[in-house]
Symmetry: C2
Subunit: 253 residues, 2 copies
DNA sequence: CGACTATTTGATAGGACTCAACCTCCGTGG
DNA sequence: CCACGGAGGTTGAGTCCTATCAAATAGTCG
């Protein structure tokens, strides 16, 4: 049921069978949520943590006048920061961007798991640290980079993050969001996102039809974005890392 | 020696005398550092946490081509996130913006303190959560706001953060940084920061001569920035909160 | 005073936004 | 089966905000 989480953890550290079993047996409530629903609304009290199993969610903040900034994407295997339990209410909303299945954790379940299995606690820990590293990158992104650089950097990031959880097939992955949402992510308008995307398609950097994104030229994209995946702290010996796909088959004519 | 930290903690929770005493007796190494020195360099292994006692430090990331994004300010009483001890190296640098006195904590000291005094651990905890809330606000700032709004929001934030640690005198406080550094903070060029500052001075919003910033019209500034100090989670019953200065004396004619 | 850094000013260019219209796709329902 | 509506994508023209480049001015410190 919560396989994606295990997968995610294992992209950071190796889990024992006992740890995996404990996670699999954890008491969670699974829900299906339509696109564009709020899982948690800004200002609400918090009852539990939510883990995305499938789909695409995000954290965002909305200003009084309607402007919105998306703060982070929550991909399968990821969850909102469980530490906010300490607070009475959250200062941002969590919503779905596509149809999403989420598992809600009672805080007690989380507490039991992390106290019984220190390595699981450590895995949670590492995940929040990576989240923060991503947060810092996003600030650099909107603060310093041009529109083309921002889009390129985000696509590189998604390619690696999704690759680490086995959601990249060849060079393509599902990206079920709209151009307007991309704009809210990168501090750009939908119109401008659209124009830069056209440039990127023209230059054979990407293809993005329907909900499917294909990275046509990762090296070029990485250079444009000055992208270095180190901040994602992925174990590079994982066999499904996107980078491995470049290996040349040995059987040559 | 580490009074600023106690002050900061007490803007979140009340400490007992025993807790204060433990903090005061903690084993730390205090250093004076000139402006524009790095306390921690990106990629370095981490030996200890650093607490700013006096002055002005920041976290920042530099890109290959020289562009820099300042990620957060570290004010007196604040420290870099001690949780990064878990990692082998940091993904960003920490440097001083002005002459700063810092206390370096051996990780053992930190460990002893937090395990002996759960409320101290909780205070650290709350501080990192507030840091992250600020981080989110900054992303909204550079992602969604205009130059005027960004500057206004930052000045409001500093007014409240410095007020909470008793560094606001009337409506003015020390802001010993350059316009170029403001630019690196807000994703703007120094030239443009300069021009917007002139507008703000003309409109009697602020005065900023030398290193001293004076907020001339906080209500107007708050409206421009759509500023709401709630995210800073300051205890509103603290007697030195800036907000209290608005109270009307009871003795009216 | 002199060297340096920071601030200010001017002219110009360009990236991104605005507003509006139009197109395309797709699910719905008559 | 096709008309309809809505959401998302695309296009165009015009504007504004912000960056760039260069130079002058003001401050600071030894």
């Amino acid at each position: 049921m919560i396989l994606p989480l295990i997968r995610k953890f294992e992209s950071h550290i190796q889990l024992s069978d006992a740890e995996k079993k404990a996670l699999l047996q954890a008491d969670v409530a699974v829900n299906e949520v339509e696109a564009r629903w709020d899982l948690i609304k800004e200002g609400q009290p918090i009852d539990g943590a939510c883990l995305v199993l499938e789909g695409f969610a995000c954290r965002y903040k909305r200003m009084q006048d309607g402007r919105r900034q998306i703060l982070s994407y929550i991909l399968p295997g990821e969850m909102n920061d469980p530490r906010v339990f300490l607070l009475d209410k959250v200062d941002h909303s969590i919503g779905t961007l596509a149809r999403t299945t989420v598992a809600m954790w009672p805080r007690k379940t989380l507490f039991n798991l992390t106290s019984a299995f220190p390595r699981i606690a450590r895995a949670f820990w590492l995940c929040t640290l990576v989240d923060e590293a991503i947060q810092r990158q996003w600030l650099v992104n909107v603060g310093q980079r041009t529109a083309l650089e921002r889009l390129s950097h985000l696509f590189c990031e998604l390619y690696f993050r999704l690759g680490a959880i086995g959601r990249v097939d060849g060079n393509s992955f599902d990206l079920p969001i709209t151009q307007a949402e991309l704009g809210d992510t990168l501090g750009l308008t939908a119109v401008h996102v659209n124009r830069i995307l056209q440039d990127m398609r023209r230059d054979r950097l990407i293809r993005w039809s329907g909900k499917r994104m294909t990275i046509l030229n990762l090296p070029a994209l990485s250079i444009i974005a000055m992208f270095d995946p180190a901040y994602l702290r992925l174990r590079s010996d994982k066999q499904d890392m996107p980078g491995r796909h470049q290996a040349t088959p040995l059987r040559q004519p």
